[in-house]
Symmetry: C4
Subunit: 191 residues, 4 copies
C-alpha cells in the first residue's frame, strides 16, 4: 500500500472528528448570555480536544513522513489509533456537559490513554521496519513524550475519580508539554 | 477517468461514514455508570461496523491498485458499493439501540450482504478489464472469502429472524476470517 | 489556481453531502417493521438524491478533466453549484418526511433546477475559456441533456403544485436520461 | 512538512464546516409555507457564512500557493484559523435562530474577527519566511482588505450591541469588498 492513501484517509477521518466535535455545542434557544453560560464547559472541553487532535495530526504526519510503504500491520495499527480518536467527540461532549465531574473526566482520560497506546504501537511498528539506526529511531530516542504522557494519563484517570481539578490540570500539562517537545522532534527529523 | 479521483472520493465517503457512525453514541445526560450502560450495545455495534469499514477500505484499496483507468461501469459499481456502506450508520444505530433483537440484526446483515454483492460486482468488472491472466485474477483465484462471506451473511439473516446470538457469532466470524485472509491477499499482490 | 485543489475540495463537499443525507434516516425506537415503515419515503428520496449526486459528481469530473487552470470566475461558479447541492440534504429530508406532498416536492425540484443552472454556468465558463473548437465544446454540442433537464425540472415544479405523482415520475425520468447520456458523453471525450 | 498535506487537511476541515452548517436548517414537520418561514433567517445566515467560507478557502489557497514548505509555527497558525472557522456553524445557527438579535450577531462578528486575526497571523508568518521582496509581499502590500476588514468587524460588534440592522449591513459589505479585491490579488500573484 502506498502511504499516500493512508495519509489521505487518516486526514479525512481526523478532519471530520475535529469538526464533528463542534456539533456538541448545541445552538441554545435563548439569545442572551444566560443561554450561553451552560455551554462554557462544553466549549472548554472542545478547545482541549481540538488541541489534542492538532497534536496527533502533526505527530502522525511526521511519523509517516519517515516511511515509504505501509504494510498490513501498520494499516490496522493506524485504524486502531483512528478508532480511539473517533470516540473523542463522545467523551468530549460527555465531560463538557457534566462540568468535568469525576467519571466523565476519567473516561476522557482513558480514551486519550488508549489513543496514546495506539499511537505508540503504530510508532513501534514503523521503527521496527525502519531499523534501529534510522533517523526516526534517533529522533524518538530521547522521546520523553512517548513514555511520559501515557503515564500522566493514568495518573489523571486515578486522580479524576478522587477530585476533578488536579486531573484537569494534568490534561492541560500534557498538550503543553507535547507542544514544546514537538518543535525539537521536528528539528531532528527535518535536518 | 483517472483512478485518483475515484479513490479520493471513495476515501472521503468512507472516512465520513466511519466517523458519522459515532454520532449514534448520543451523549447521556447523567454522569454515572448507569448513564453509560444503555450505550454498551450501541458501542459494540459501532466497534463491529468500524472493523467492517476498515476491512472494506483496505480491500477496496488493493482492488483499485491493480487498475489504471476507471470506466463508467466501474464508477457506478463503486457508487453502488458506497450506497450500501452509507446505510451502515443507520443499521448500526438501529441494531445497537435495540440490543441486537432479530429484525434490526437481520437488516444489518441484509445491508452487509448487499454491500458484499456490490463489492463483488465491482471486483468482477475490474477483473474483466484486467483479463483472466492478470495478477489480480490470480490473487482472487483462490478467493474463498469473496464466495463464502456473502453466504454467511444470508445464513446470518435467516438465523437472526429465529435467534440473535448465533447470528451475532457469524457477524464476528466474518471479519475475523477476512482479517486472516487479507494478509495472504496482500502477499500475492505485493510480490 | 491549479484544478487539483478545486477538484479535491469539490469531492470533499460532495462526499459529505452524500453521507450527511443519510442522517435524515433517523434511527427509530421500535424494533419491528411498523417502526421502519414511516422511513420508506425518506429512504426513497435518499436513493433519488444519491443518484443525482452521483451523476453530478461524475459529470463534474469530466467537465474539469478538460481544463488545466481554474480562474476566479470558475471558482465562484463552482462554489455556487456546491451551494445548491448543499441544500439537497434539507430538501430531500423535507420531501421524504412529508411523503412527496406538493410544496416539498416543488422545493426539491426548485433546488435541483438551480443546481442545474449553476452547473450550466460553470460549463459555459469552461467552454468559453477552452474555445468553441475544443473537444469539450464538441462533446457538449449535441448536448440535449444540458438543455432539456432544466426544462423538465421547471415542468416538474409546476406539476408538483398540482399533483405529486406525475412530478415524481419526471424526477425519475431525469436521472435515467442523464444516466443513458453520460456514457455517450464519456465516449466522445475519452477517445 | 510538505504543504500538500496541510492543504488537504485544511480543505477537508473547510469542506466539512461548509456542509455541517446546513444541518442547522432542521427539516420542519409541516409541509406548507408556514413551516418554512421560521427557517428564513437561518437560511440567510447560512448564505452569509457560505460566502465567507468560500472567500477564506479561496484566499487560503492563494496564500499557500506562494510557499513550498510549512514549518511548525505555520501549522499551528493554520490550526488556529481552522479553530475559529469551526465555530462558524455554531454562531451561524445561533444568529439565524434568534433573527439577528444583538448578542448573537455580536458573537458572530467576534468569531469572524478572531478568524480574520488568525488569518493575518498565518499570512505574516508566511510573508516573514518568503521575505519582504517576494511576490506575495508585493501582492499584499496594497492590501487594504487585510487591514480594513478586521476593523469593520470590530465596528460591527459594537454596533450590533446597539442595533442589529446597520451591523448586518457591515457583514454584507465585508464579503462584497473582499470579493472585489480578490480578483486584483489574483491578478498580481498569477502573473
Amino acid at each position: 500500500m502506498e502511504k499516500n492513501r493512508l495519509e489521505a484517509f487518516s486526514d479525512g477521518v481526523i478532519a471530520i472528528i475535529i469538526t464533528i466535535m463542534v456539533l456538541e455545542l448545541k445552538v441554545p434557544h435563548g439569545a442572551d448570555l444566560d443561554a450561553l453560560q451552560p455551554l462554557l464547559p462544553v466549549f472548554l472541553s472542545y478547545v482541549l480536544s481540538f488541541v489534542y487532535i492538532g497534536i496527533y495530526w502533526n505527530n502522525h504526519h511526521h511519523l509517516l513522513k519517515a516511511i515509504r510503504r505501509v504494510n498490513g500491520a501498520m494499516m490496522w495499527a493506524n485504524l486502531h489509533l483512528l478508532f480511539w480518536l473517533s470516540l473523542l467527540p463522545f467523551v468530549t461532549g460527555w465531560m463538557g456537559e457534566n462540568h468535568f465531574t469525576p467519571l466523565p473526566t476519567a473516561l476522557y482520560g482513558a480514551v486519550m490513554l488508549l489513543a496514546a497506546v495506539a499511537y505508540y504501537i503504530l510508532q513501534s511498528l514503523i521503527v521496527a521496519e525502519q531499523g534501529r539506526e534510522s533517523k526516526l529511531a534517533a529522533a524518538l530516542g530521547k522521546d520523553f513524550k512517548g513514555k511520559i504522557s501515557p503515564m500522566l494519563f493514568v495518573v489523571g484517570i486515578i486522580v479524576a475519580s478522587l477530585a476533578t481539578l488536579p486531573s484537569g490540570a494534568i490534561y492541560v500539562v500534557v498538550p503543553v508539554m507535547l507542544h514544546i517537545l514537538v518543535p525539537r522532534f521536528l528539528h531532528v527529523l527535518d535536518r
